[in-house]
């Protein structure tokens, strides 16, 4: 999400309205973000790994969790599409990639995208391994760049893919599948030091101002908004 530039577009407005709070963004995958928060190193988390978030809340590490926006994942790959996945369902597409042993870049970083990728492989009935399955332990931007350079496939959130697509040799090959929907939630943490600031930011993000900002993001550059705001709560 950080690679898409959303926070840079949204946070300055909050900061100018609330000059008393300083926001430091630590851009990491969802799993890592929740782990940071669990150790008390974050006041607020934006995450998109529903199963991990539910475990996080159940363990008492979070105070409140609010879905704020959604977008979708896409399967991207080289235009030549050696595994012939274009237009297939996501599970059929992954099965075709594995059968063709076509290069596939996995973030392998416990991020929300990685968690979804693992779930989709499970749905496809495949336990991916082998030289074609490249586990990089890095963020979305790197995964896209490596897929592009090595002419491989990867699963990306649409926003990051669009934001970087000008420098990528990758096309969207599978999209719109139900298994590819991606919901982001904001969580205020129990062990954070600044509860008031965290609450203020969470309320703002879920409120009309934040939601409007989120909905507008990307409309100028990509002629479509990159994130779908989920109804304001206030």
């Amino acid at each position: 999400m950080e690679d898409s530039g959303l926070l840079d577009a949204v946070l300055p407005e909050f900061s100018s309205q609330h000059p008393g709070y300083v926001i430091k963004v630590i851009a990491v995958g969802s799993g890592e973000a929740l782990a940071l928060a669990e150790r008390g190193d974050a006041d607020i988390v934006i995450s998109h790994s529903p199963a991990a978030e539910e475990r996080f809340m159940a363990a008492g590490h979070g105070r409140a969790r609010t879905p704020i926006m959604a977008n979708d994942f896409v399967l991207v790959g080289p235009a030549e599409d050696p595994a012939r996945v274009q237009g297939a369902s996501i599970t059929a597409a992954l099965a075709a990639v594995a059968a063709a042993r076509a290069p596939f870049v996995s973030r392998a970083d416990d991020s929300g995208t990685h968690a979804r990728e693992r779930a989709l492989w499970r749905d496809a009935g495949i336990d991916p391994s082998g030289e074609w399955y490249m586990q990089i332990g890095q963020g979305m931007g790197e995964a896209l760049r490596i897929a592009s350079e090595r002419a491989g496939y990867t699963i990306s959130d649409r926003a990051t893919y669009l934001a970087l697509s000008h420098a990528l040799y990758l096309n969207v090959l599978v999209e719109g599948d139900e298994g590819l929907r991606n919901v982001y939630s904001v969580i205020t943490t129990s062990r954070g030091r600044n509860h008031a600031g965290a609450d203020s930011l969470a309320t703002w993000l879920a409120g009309s101002a934040g939601q409007q900002r989120i909905g507008a993001f990307g409309a100028d550059d990509f002629e479509r908004s990159l994130f779908e705001p989920l109804a304001p709560r206030d």
Binding site: V28, A35, A108, Q135, Q138, E142, E149, A167
Partner: protein, 239 residues
């Protein structure tokens, strides 16, 4: 404190257990950095020796440039190699980005200034009389140069050791041009970054200790070779 003790235990376990994942990473680190230093030697050594021994216009500038190379940030070298080998770059057709080869090239670029700078200092530290004496005793120019280099061997070894130390420990360039692909381009330092990001501090620190152990073993071997030659050669520099 517990996390440090746990890391020590974990490091011992990782090294002793013969864990395939760890040994593969260790081996790749050695291969990439070893090849990087070797390549850096091929370029850095002649440059260092030439700048150390010859007098030519612009020599001061050359020395300043070599020393500036000590401060070359690995990420900048990584960026440069990335741009050259990316599909949009001039050497994109070679398809070397995110392979060990591009990592070796980046590390060679990083090692070369160390090798050049330290070998330059090493040959300059030898009194010029050595070469003159050798010439006076009837040695050819090439022979006299070899004699000079033999006198400088301690410093030349130091150049190799410093170059190796610089590249085995850097993460910026190998991360950028290697991509940290498990089993293919993941080395010790990128593995440390990864484990830290995952919150596995003990494993990350253990990898760090393994890296230091590796550096110690390599340096101990180099030093042994170095000191052995000193003992063997000290009384017969012209042999």
């Amino acid at each position: 404190m517990d996390v440090f003790i746990e890391s020590l235990r974990e490091a011992g376990r990782l090294l002793l257990s013969g864990d395939a994942y760890v040994w593969q990473i260790l081996l790749l680190s050695l291969q990439v950095s070893g090849a990087g230093v070797l390549l850096g030697l091929i370029f850095g050594l002649p440059v260092g020796i030439a700048v150390g021994l010859l007098r030519f216009p612009g020599r001061g500038l050359a020395i300043a440039l070599i020393h500036t190379g000590f401060a070359l940030p690995p990420v900048v070298v990584g960026l440069f190699v990335y741009m050259v080998f990316s599909r949009a770059g001039p050497a994109g057709h070679l398809e070397l980005l995110f392979t060990p080869t591009s990592m070796v090239i980046a590390q060679a670029l990083l090692a070369a200034p160390y090798v050049a700078g330290i070998s330059m200092a090493a040959v300059q530290a030898v009194p010029p009389d050595v070469r003159l004496q050798a010439r006076g005793l009837g040695a050819s120019r090439a022979r006299a140069l070899l004699t000079h280099l033999a006198e400088a061997r301690l410093g030349l070894f130091a150049a190799v050791v410093a170059g190796f130390g610089a590249v085995i420990s850097e993460v910026g360039a190998v991360m950028m041009v290697g991509g940290n692909i498990a089993g293919e381009t993941r080395v010790m330092t990128t593995a440390i970054v990864l484990e830290t990001r995952r919150g596995n501090f003990a494993t990350a620190l253990a990898f760090g200790l393994v890296l230091l152990t590796l550096a110690f073993v390599v340096n101990a071997l180099l030093t042994r070779a170095q000191q052995a030659r000193v003992r063997a050669g000290v009384h017969r520099p012209f042999a």
